[in-house]
């Protein structure tokens, strides 16, 4: 069994949640901190993995860059909460 070297505190959970733009309630922060500790401790076993060559035996294939039909504007906007003049309308930037 791997040593416990990964400590996840509430502060860190809040930081990651803010990076991911997911608001968390206080009780969620506490629960996630506990679960992340368990899960990340389990992931520690990746430290034992040797370096391995990743190269896939594949070559890239390009297609010609030509205009073609795509989704109509109306269809693309169908599911939007708010639109204006054929554009998506989002919240204020600041």
């Amino acid at each position: 069994m791997t040593e416990r070297t990964t400590a996840v505190d509430a502060e860190e959970v809040r930081h990651v949640a803010s990076l991911a733009r997911v608001d968390l309630a206080d009780d969620e922060v506490g629960r996630f901190a506990e679960q992340f500790e368990d899960i990340l401790t389990y992931f520690e076993r990746l430290d034992e993995v040797p370096e391995v060559d990743h190269d896939a035996d594949l070559t890239n294939v390009m297609r010609p860059d030509e205009p073609r039909e795509c989704l109509e504007t109306d269809a693309a906007l169908e599911n939007a909460a708010d639109t204006e003049d054929g554009f998506f309308k989002g919240p204020n930037v600041s």
Binding site: D23, Q35, L46, H54, N79, P91, V93
Partner: protein, 422 residues
């Protein structure tokens, strides 16, 4: 009594006569259907109606199939029980009171209950094979690149494939024949090397002279009743002329860690698109864009999805990328190499699909890590981009057991043939 296999029932007729004329197909609710809501089992997409069909749905319609509904699933494919769905859990028709497995639990349950002849699911780390095993039906996870993912709502896009469920190996293979093949709208699809006949033709039960490898690591820690059922299956293959031998896959002890780091990292990126602006739930909370996005995502996502997005964000963040994500990619390459070496020695590999029989409904939700560990036998296959099939292999204490056959890349005919001998 309904088992709650469907989130949305519908009736979309085929556009042409074809090999699936007269057959009903259930489609997992993360596969886009034009004009029919596609929720991914999430509150986030509860009202989302795609303006286009996934390539596999176009192919179903062109083959004459009737699509009868969109099936229940773990939210965005994240789970092993179908209990993380926003639309409630699904009962297991083969073992009432137990989970149908996940994440494609509704698709497996629909086929097991006779509510559809066939079904489509998606498999990122076992999400077709686990429910096939738990519900006593057949499920195939194709080689990465065989089936188009265009119109599949992405979770772990380097790992996942759409694949079929059916009551028989031949029917599952026939559905694979319909959906397989390159698609210019999914640049990761490619032409499979030529094989003899269709996938359905390969279901001829002829395993005389076939060599079957049994990775010892995939039996460790399995439930005794599951091992007993597996060993009976191995004996059946031997009596049909197959030879069996033990093989070693030393890397697979690291597969669950590698899988979850990669899947969570990809999820954190793929699910960044759900911000309430272009589609999906949108919070009324107001404020600037960061406040609005944070609120929208807090309201729209369930616990398991938040957990995976946050852990993926953590694994990719400065200072942790090399420790988690880079090492997980090394482990993925290591697992791939182990499988390559095993297929130098044997034709197919066999293991129990799941190390345990189906859990009771509600039994396993509290401890995410314990649930992740139940994926030990399925995730190595996704890491190595290989095809695998799960077929029923009897019962333990009245609960279904599934056996998994793994083939080399594009070796679908070989695993279909092996499974059809049972």
């Amino acid at each position: 009594m309904s088992v709650n296999a469907f989130i949305t029932e519908t009736e979309l007729e085929g556009t042409d006569e074809g090999p699936l004329s007269g057959r009903t197909v259930a489609v997992k609710d993360n596969i886009s259907t034009a004009g029919v809501r596609t929720t991914c089992g999430s509150k986030m997409l509860a009202e989302y109606v795609p303006p286009y069909d996934a390539t596999v749905v176009e192919r179903l319609k062109a083959a004459g199939a009737t699509i009868v509904g969109k099936t229940n699933m773990d939210e965005f494919g994240m789970g092993t029980t179908t209990e993380t769905s926003h639309f409630g859990s699904t009962d297991n028709p083969a073992a009432p009171g137990h989970v149908p497995g996940g994440s494609s639990g509704g698709s497996a349950a629909a086929v097991a209950a006779g509510e559809a002849d066939l079904a489509l699911g998606s498999d990122t780390g076992g999400s077709i094979r686990c429910p096939a095993a738990f519900c006593g039906v057949v499920g195939i996870k194709p080689t990465y690149g065989l089936v188009s993912r265009y119109g599949l709502v992405a979770y772990g896009n380097s790992l996942e494939q759409i694949g079929p469920f059916a009551q028989t190996v031949e029917d599952a293979a026939a559905l694979l024949d319909v959906i397989a093949g390159p698609d210019e709208r999914d640049a990761t699809t490619r032409e499979a090397p030529d094989g003899e006949g269709t996938y359905a033709d390969a279901a001829d039960g002829d395993v005389d002279g076939l060599s079957v490898g049994i990775p010892t690591e995939l039996l460790e820690g399995a439930d005794q009743g599951v091992i007993d059922a597996f060993e009976e299956t191995v004996e059946t293959l031997e009596s049909a002329g197959a030879t069996t031998r033990e093989v070693c896959l030393p890397s697979v002890g690291h597969a669950v860690s590698a899988y979850y780091v990669i899947a969570m990292s990809e999820a954190s990126s793929n699910l960044a698109r759900f911000d309430g602006v272009r589609y999906g739930h949108s919070s009324d909370a107001g404020g600037n864009w960061n406040d609005a996005f944070g609120r929208t995502r807090a309201e729209g996502f369930g616990d398991e999805v938040k957990r995976r997005i946050l852990l993926g964000t953590y694994a990719l963040s400065a200072g942790y990328h090399d420790k988690y994500y880079k090492k997980a990619q090394d482990a993925r390459a290591w697992v791939t190499r182990d499988f390559d070496e095993a297929f130098d020695e044997v034709d197919v590999l066999a293991s129990p699909t799941m190390p345990v029989p189906p859990f009771e409904l509600g039994e396993s939700l509290d401890d995410p890590l314990q649930l992740y560990l139940a994926d030990a036998n399925t995730v190595p296959v996704n890491l190595a981009n290989l095809p695998a099939i799960s077929v029923p292999a009897g019962e333990t204490n009245g609960l279904p057991v599934g056996v998994q056959f793994i083939g080399p890349a594009f070796g679908e005919r070989r695993i279909v043939r092996t499974a059809s001998a049972l």
